[in-house]
C-alpha cells in the first residue's frame, strides 16, 4: 500500500480506492495514494493517465465514483472547489481558471477579497495583490490591468499568486508552469521551497523532467488510471521513470539532426524586414526546405506575432515575405492555408479546438474543401482521413464521435497537430506545440517534425522549453524586443547561448547568477 512514505509526519492527504469513470473511459481505477506535509510530491504519467482527474477529485471539481479521501486524518468529500478551498486544498489548474475581464487584483483575491462593511475594499485588495505578486517575483504586473491584456506567461503567474492568496495547506500545481520561461520557473521554485519549509503539502504535475528533478522529494507514477508506484527522488533512474510512465523505454528523446546541407537551396520561407506596430521591429530570416528553425527568447518578445503575421492574422504587417519564391501576403488564415501554411496556435482550448464538437469534426476542420466532392462532403474519404490521423499520431480516443473536450490535454494537442498535418502543409508554424505533452508523445512529435522536414517541409518552431529547441532545431533565432538578436546554428545551440541572448547580453558575459 503506502509503500514508501519517507515522511516523518503522518500523510496529510490520503486517497483510498478512488475510481472515476467518464462514460466508457476509466479515468481513475482504484487509486490509493498519499502525500505529506512539507514535501513536494510529483505526479507523473503520460497524457490521459488520470493526473488531472486525480487532482480534480482532490480539489472538489469532480466527485469520485468510489473511494475514500482523508485530509489531516479526517474523512472529507468536497462538493465543489469552494469547499476544498475552505479546507485548505488549493489548485492551480492545467486549464487556467482566471476571469479575463476582471483585473489582476480581482482575480487574485476573487473568492475572499478584503471587505469593509461587507463591501470589497478595492485599495486593500490592490495592496494585497501587489504583495502576493511580489512574493513570486512578478512585481511587474499591474494589479489594475485586466487579465485579458496579459500574455499567457503572466497569466500563469497571476494564477499562482491567486492560489497563494488562499493560504493553502495543500497546494496542487497541474502543469502550472507549462508556459513559463526559465526565469519565472526559478521564481516559482523559490516560492514552492518557501511554502514547503512552512509545512505546506505540495502536489506537482509537470511533463518537464528537469523541473521534477529540481523540485520533487517524492514521485508517484500513474498509468492508465492506475497508481503504479511511489518512490523517493533518486530511487529510480530517469530512464526507468519514463519507462514506468509510458510502459516502454525511450532511447533517444530527440531524433538525430541531419548534417548541415552544403549547398543551400532557395529558402522555402524568406522574411525581410518584417514589422508590425511596436511588436515586430524589422526581422529578417529564412527557413529552407527540410529545416527546423527554432524561435527562442523570453516569452512575449514577438515570437507569437511573427507566427501570426505569417499566417495572415495580423493587419498592417510591413516587410516582404516570400514562400517558395512567390510573394506571400495572406489576408487571412484561409489564404495562408491556401499558400501551404499551417499554424499550431498557442492556446488549444480557444484557438485550436472546437471543444464541444467531435474529434472527427475537429480533425477535418482545416480540410473540408479537399474532402468535398463538389459541395458535398465525401463521407468515406472523411472517415478514412480521420482514421489515418488518429493512427498516425497515436491519438488515444474511444470513438472519433466523442467530443474532443473529453480527451486529455495531450491528446487534444495531438488533434490540433493532426488537423494541420491533414492539409499537407509545406510550411509549418508551431507555437509551443508540446505544452502539456508527456515525454513519450513529445518524442513522437519530434520524430514527426523531423520526418516532415525530411519530406521537404519547412518548420518554424517557437518553444518556451529550451531543451526542446536545442534537441530539435537545426537553427535557433533568439528574439528580444521584436528583433532577432542572435542566430545560433549547429553546436552553437546551447542553453547558455540561448539564455544569454534571450536576456540580450553579450555572449561573452554568459556567466550569470
Amino acid at each position: 500500500m503506502l509503500d514508501v512514505m519517507q515522511n516523518e509526519f503522518a500523510p496529510f492527504l490520503t486517497l483510498t480506492g478512488i475510481s472515476k469513470r467518464y462514460g466508457g473511459v476509466r479515468a481513475l481505477d482504484g487509486v490509493t495514494f498519499a502525500c505529506g506535509r512539507g514535501s513536494i510530491h510529483a505526479v507523473l504519467g503520460e497524457n490521459g493517465a488520470g493526473k488531472s482527474t486525480l487532482i480534480k477529485i482532490v480539489s472538489g471539481v469532480v466527485q469520485p465514483d468510489e473511494g475514500l479521501m482523508r485530509l489531516d486524518g479526517r474523512e472529507v468529500a468536497f462538493p465543489n472547489p469552494a469547499a476544498a478551498n475552505r479546507a485548505g486544498v488549493v489548485c492551480v489548474f492545467q486549464e487556467l481558471s482566471l476571469m479575463p475581464d476582471l483585473t489582476v487584483a480581482d482575480n487574485i483575491l476573487a473568492a475572499d477579497p478584503p471587505r469593509r462593511f461587507g463591501l470589497i475594499d478595492g485599495r486593500a485588495q490592490r495592496r494585497r495583490a501587489e504583495e502576493l505578486l511580489a512574493s513570486i517575483g512578478c512585481a511587474d504586473v499591474d494589479p489594475r490591468l485586466r487579465v485579458r491584456d496579459l500574455p499567457l506567461s503572466r497569466r500563469q503567474m497571476v494564477e499562482i499568486a491567486k492560489a497563494l492568496a488562499k493560504k493553502p495547506r495543500l497546494l496542487i500545481l497541474d502543469e502550472a508552469t507549462s508556459a513559463l520561461t526559465a526565469a519565472d520557473v526559478e521564481r516559482v521554485y523559490a516560492m514552492l521551497r518557501r511554502l514547503k519549509a512552512d509545512g505546506v503539502a505540495i502536489l506537482y504535475i509537470s511533463h518537464r523532467m528537469h523541473e521534477i528533478d529540481a523540485l520533487a522529494d517524492t514521485l508517484s507514477v500513474f498509468r492508465n488510471g492506475r497508481h503504479i508506484e511511489t518512490f523517493a527522488k533518486g530511487a529510480r533512474s530517469p530512464d526507468r521513470i519514463v519507462e514506468l510512465m509510458i510502459g516502454r523505454e525511450i532511447t533517444a528523446q530527440y531524433p538525430p539532426k541531419p548534417l548541415p546541407k552544403e549547398s543551400v537551396g532557395p529558402p522555402r520561407l524568406d522574411v525581410r524586414d518584417l514589422s508590425w506596430g511596436e511588436r515586430l521591429k524589422g526581422l529578417s530570416f529564412s527557413v529552407g526546405a527540410g529545416e527546423i528553425v527554432g524561435l527562442g527568447g523570453l516569452d512575449g518578445q514577438g515570437q507569437k506575432e511573427v507566427l501570426l503575421a505569417l499566417f495572415g492574422v495580423l493587419k498592417g504587417v510591413g516587410g516582404t515575405v516570400t514562400v517558395d519564391g512567390r510573394p506571400h501576403r495572406p489576408g487571412s488564415p484561409a489564404e495562408a492555408k491556401d499558400g501551404g501554411l499551417a499554424l499550431i496556435p498557442e492556446d488549444r482550448k480557444t484557438e485550436g479546438l472546437m471543444l464541444p464538437m467531435s474529434i472527427a469534426d475537429n480533425l477535418v476542420a482545416a480540410s473540408l474543401k479537399p474532402l468535398s466532392k463538389g459541395l458535398v462532403i465525401d463521407r468515406a474519404k472523411e472517415r478514412a482521413a480521420v482514421a489515418d490521423a488518429v493512427r498516425r499520431l497515436r491519438i488515444k480516443i474511444g470513438s472519433a464521435e466523442d467530443a474532443v473536450s473529453t480527451l486529455s490535454g495531450g491528446n487534444q494537442q495531438k488533434v490540433v497537430i493532426a488537423k494541420w498535418l491533414m492539409t499537407g502543409p509545406g510550411l509549418i508554424l508551431l507555437n509551443d506545440p508540446t505544452r502539456g505533452i508527456d515525454v513519450g508523445t513529445k518524442q513522437e512529435i519530434y520524430r514527426l517534425l523531423r520526418d516532415l522536414a525530411d519530406g521537404g517541409a519547412a518548420i518554424l518552431f517557437y518553444s518556451t522549453d529550451y531543451d526542446e529547441l536545442i534537441g530539435c532545431c537545426d537553427r535557433v533565432s533568439v528574439m528580444y524586443d521584436g528583433r532577432i538578436v542572435r542566430e545560433l546554428e549547429g553546436d552553437a545551440i546551447t542553453e547558455q547561448a540561448i539564455v544569454a541572448s534571450a536576456l540580450n547580453m553579450n555572449t561573452e558575459m554568459t556567466h550569470h547568477g
Partner: protein
Amino acid sequence: MADAALSTAPRAARGGSLALRLRQNAGLLGAIGLFVLFYGVYNLYHPRGFSQQVLIQNANEVFTIALVAMAQTVPVILGGLDLSVGAVMTLVNCLASHLVTGSAGEIALGILACLAAGTAFGFLNGCVVVFGRIQPIIATLATGAIAIGLALFLRPKPGGKLDADLSWAMTNSLGDFAETYGLFDGGQAPWFQPIAGIPVPLVLLVLVAVCVWMPFRRTLTGRTVYAVGSAEGAAFMSGLPIARAKLAAFTLAGFFAGVGGLFLAIQTSTGNADIPQAGAYTLNSIAAVVIGGTSLLGGTGGAVASVVGALVLRAISFNFRIFDIPPLMQPLVEGLVLLAAVSLGALRALRTRNRLELFR
C-alpha cells in the same frame, strides 16, 4: 511567506491611473459623447432649452426606460440576456394600478408590494435559470410571456387610478414634491432652494444607482456576476458563489424593472398591459445596454453606463420634435441614427490589428 518584496514601490508603468480607467471605459465615454451631442443640440434649438421645465419633462420620459435598461444590464454582465424585463415592468405597472391608492399607509404598502412583486418575479427567473438550467435568453422569453399574461389578468384593459398627489409630486421638481406633502416649509425652506428645482425622477434615478447598484457591484456576489460573465468555468474553479450570483442578477433585474413599472404607473396614474409596449421596452433596453458600452458577451460594463445608453436613445427622438423632418421619414431617420450609434463600436473592430482579438 514572502515579505521581502512587500514594499516594492509601484513602478512607473503603474502611473496614469486615470488613463487606464479611460482606456478601460472607452465605450461609456463614447456613449456620454453621443448623449452630450444629441441632448445639447436639442436644448440649443428648443425655445425653452436648458430650462427646468424641459429637464423635468425629459426626466419623466427617461426614467422608466433607464430603469429597464439597468435591469437588462445585470443579466447581460452575467453573460445572459433577460427578455422579460419589459414584461415585468408591465406586470408591476398593472399591479401598481390596483395597489397604489388609498390612505398614505395603503399607498406605502402598495409601493412595497409592487417592488416586492418585481423582485420576486426576477427571483423566479433566476430560479428557472439556475435550477432549471435553461439558457437565460430563452427562459426569460418564456417567463416574459407569463408575466404579460399575468399583467393581462390584472388589467384586461387599461385602467385604474393611482393617487393623484403622488403622481404630481413624483413627476415634478423636488420643490413641487415638498409643496405637495408640506415638507420643508412647503418647499420654501431657504436651505432647500438650491436643490428645489431638481426633477424628482432624476433624484430617484441617482438614488437607485448609488444606493442599490453601486454597493451591489462591490459585494462578493456582485463581483461574481462579472466573473461568471467573463468565464463561468473559471469562476466555478475559483470557488465563487455562482448560483447565488445568478439568482441575485435576475432578482436585481426584477427589482429594477419593477421600479420602472411602478414609476410608469405613477406617471400615468394607470396600469396598461400593453404587449407591444413591453416588447419595445425590452428591445430598447438591449440597445441601451450596448450603446452604454456593455458587451453582450458579459463580464464588463455597468448599469450606470446603460442609463447613459437609455439617455442617448431617448435624446435621439427628442430631436424629432425640434427639427422639421417629414413625419413619414422620421422612422427611417431614427432607424439610421440608431444603426449608426450601435455601429460606433465597430471603430474598435476596424482599429484592431490582431484579428484574434475580435473573437470575444
